[in-house]
């Protein structure tokens, strides 16, 4: 399977541009991490870019997003400036969460980006609640909830699907199945690896899509999101993808074979899509170079912004714990 064709030149450009923004930003993150400028857990999305780009590109701007700790790509796609993302990882006050959250907790509430969440499965009930508020307030939007294959092991996954289905809430469950929960392969953490059987037990319609094919992801998620918006009931999409890098920066990758990784790299979503665009004559070397240059410049500027950022004064250590002191 290769990648599907985009509708036109500008569409092709947008998709590739967005995937490259994520790829290059994260390559830079890995680099500065080794310099100790980013610390803590850093979960790279490299190899999975087509999922966030296709899926979030298919949503409306006012749709809500709840993501995991592997959410740099999702934040960028939702319009969080790259500089604010990088500054957050640097722990600077100009970060999108003022340096309080770091890589795992990127937030941009004004863009309806309700955060990166670091407890596996913990974001699902939040997404159901956001959709409940929409339903009760008559706000016609979709809440897109991203989570991994590992999250389907957690009880909250099942409770959340049941509640969303029982109460008929507009949640679009987006399962990023990259085949592993940390070092545990899908067939060693789930008795039935056919993940779309799970939503079926709650009467939630579900389908699978090739997560390495950005256009297919976009098409599928657009259809599913529109259906959720029209019918106001939950739906589920499994996006099959693969993590090219280690789970986090502390992962020796003992659990998988280098050859397996190489095999999957042959289906690099960016390479596949670029090839297809060339075939279609939608992008030539010149256009590609232009995109790479633009992205390189954006990354450079983002690092600059992060480096230049101030840190929060110690005096504010305990600020924003509560919004109001008791009278």
């Amino acid at each position: 399977m290769s990648s599907s064709a985009p509708s036109d030149r500008s569409h092709a450009r947008t998709l590739l541009h967005q995937m490259l923004r994520i790829r290059r930003l994260e390559e830079k993150c890995a680099e500065v991490y080794t310099q100790g400028k980013i610390r803590g857990f850093l979960h790279l999305y490299i190899g999975e870019e087509a999922v966030a780009v296709g899926a979030i590109g298919a949503l409306e701007d006012e749709d809500a997003i709840v993501a995991t700790y592997r959410e740099h790509g999702h934040a960028l796609m939702r319009g969080v400036p790259m500089g604010a993302v990088m500054a957050e990882m640097y722990g600077k006050a100009n970060g999108c969460s003022r340096g309080r959250g770091g890589s795992m907790h990127l937030f941009a509430v004004d863009r309806h980006f309700y955060g990166g969440h670091a407890i596996v499965g913990g974001g699902l009930p939040i997404a159901v609640g956001l959709a409940l508020a929409d339903e009760m307030l008559g706000r016609r939007r979709v809440t897109a909830c991203f989570f991994g294959d590992g999250a389907t092991d957690e009880g909250e996954f099942h409770e959340a699907l049941n509640l969303a289905a029982l109460w008929k809430l507009p949640v679009l469950f987006l399962c990023e199945n990259n085949g592993y929960a940390m070092g545990t392969a899908l067939d060693r953490h789930e008795a039935d690896v056919e993940l779309i059987h799970k939503p079926a037990a709650y009467g939630i319609p579900a389908e699978k899509v090739d997560g390495m094919d950005v256009v297919a992801v976009e098409r599928t998620v657009r259809y599913e999101a529109e259906t959720v918006r029209e019918q106001g009931t939950p739906r589920f999409v499994e996006l099959n993808t693969y993590r090219f890098r280690a789970h986090s920066m502390f992962d020796a990758e003992l659990y998988r074979d280098k050859r397996e990784v190489e095999e999957h790299k042959k289906r690099d979503p960016i390479a596949l899509f670029t090839a297809r665009c060339r075939e279609e004559g939608l992008l030539d070397d010149e256009a590609l170079e232009a995109i790479e240059k633009e992205v390189a410049e954006e990354v450079r500027a983002a690092v600059e912004e992060a480096e230049a950022g101030e840190i929060e004064p110690l005096a504010t250590l305990a600020s924003d714990v509560v919004s109001r002191e008791v009278p």
Binding site: R98, R100, A127, G129, A160, V322
Partner: protein, 326 residues
């Protein structure tokens, strides 16, 4: 001003809040058709309908998380967790989401959810159904914690909790739901965030809250008959604790007994003792005493349960010890 039960006071407050604010709604196990496990929400389904009185599946983690999410989405949810015992299943959502969301987003969002739960022993429901965990909740930055020990507070705390922009955990005492008292349904309610002196006295301070308050007041009367005048301080707000009030009372009495139904080790009473040491050490003329629950999973048999939790007799004896008597 009228007479009402603690249960009716909570219901009255929820009714007032839902009538005044479209964004307020109640969700929890059996709050609707059943009328609430302790009949607290009885009649509300008929009055407000199934959209605002929502029976949930048995899924504490997710319906609590959904309440948190709904609050993030602009609603003012009242999440009823039937009892604190089941809140163990929802702790991740409360501690890792409700309490952290504002801080880890750099102040972008607040979580105005009121989480109500019945707490305490005394009904012979044994080890898995008799927990008191106010001490745990009171230790979590990002949460505010209230515990109602009077009928008026049962009403006021619901309203104050709903007015607050942050996640508030409200502990309702299971054994007090039937207690009668005066209820003013027009009263201002912002006072609940501060401790209240329920009885004045100069000899010893009895510091308490929630389930232990009535026992503590009874103990004060018993002590009075023996010529000991105890001041009874009702903490009311367990997070943040009212440090001023704690110091003020021992500055008057120089002796204190802290009464609370959590297990002795790690009890909220222990925190109160530590704060008295930090803030009023030189005011203390005797070791501060704790009257808490004996370190045992609550047994079913009545005589054993009674012996496990704080009693009037134990409070009286402890108070006398601080006065060097007995």
């Amino acid at each position: 001003m009228k007479r009402a039960t603690y249960r009716e006071a909570v219901r009255s407050a929820m009714r007032q809040a839902m009538s005044g604010d479209e964004r307020v709604f109640l969700m929890g196990e059996d709050v609707g058709r059943y009328g609430g496990a302790f009949a607290v929400s009885k009649g509300l389904l008929e009055e407000f309908g199934p959209d605002r009185i929502r029976d949930t599946p048995l899924a504490e983690s997710t319906f609590t998380g959904a309440g948190i999410g709904a609050a993030m989405g602009g609603m003012r949810p009242i999440v009823e967790i039937m009892t604190v015992n089941f809140s163990l299943l929802a702790l991740d959502q409360i501690v890792n989401n409700a309490a952290t969301m504002r801080h880890m987003s750099g102040g972008q969002i607040n979580v105005p959810v009121l989480i109500r739960m019945a707490t305490g022993a005394g009904k012979q429901v044994a080890a898995q159904h008799s927990h008191s965990l106010e001490n745990w909740y009171a230790s979590v930055p990002g949460l505010k914690v209230l515990a109602a020990g009077t009928v008026q507070d049962a009403r006021d705390m619901v309203l104050a909790g709903l007015d607050d922009p942050d996640p508030v955990v409200l502990f309702e005492t299971m054994v007090l739901y039937g207690m009668e008292g005066d209820l003013d349904e027009e009263a201002p309610y912002d006072g609940v965030w501060r401790a209240a002196v329920r009885r004045e006295g100069d000899d010893v301070s009895l510091i308490s809250y929630g389930s232990s308050l009535p026992k503590t007041l009874e103990a004060a009367e018993a002590l009075s008959k023996e010529g000991v005048e105890a001041e009874v301080l009702d903490l009311r707000c367990l997070r943040p604790l009212d440090q001023q009030a704690l110091e003020a009372t021992v500055r008057r009495t120089h002796r204190a007994v802290v009464v609370d139904e959590t297990w002795h080790t790690g009890s909220l009473a222990g925190e109160v003792v530590a704060r008295l040491v930090e803030g009023a050490f030189y005011e203390l003329d005797a070791p501060v005493e704790r009257v808490c629950t004996v370190e045992v999973p609550i047994p079913y048999a009545k005589h054993l349960e009674d012996a496990a939790i704080p009693s009037v007799a134990r409070i009286v004896t402890a108070a006398q010890r601080t006065l060097g008597k007995g």
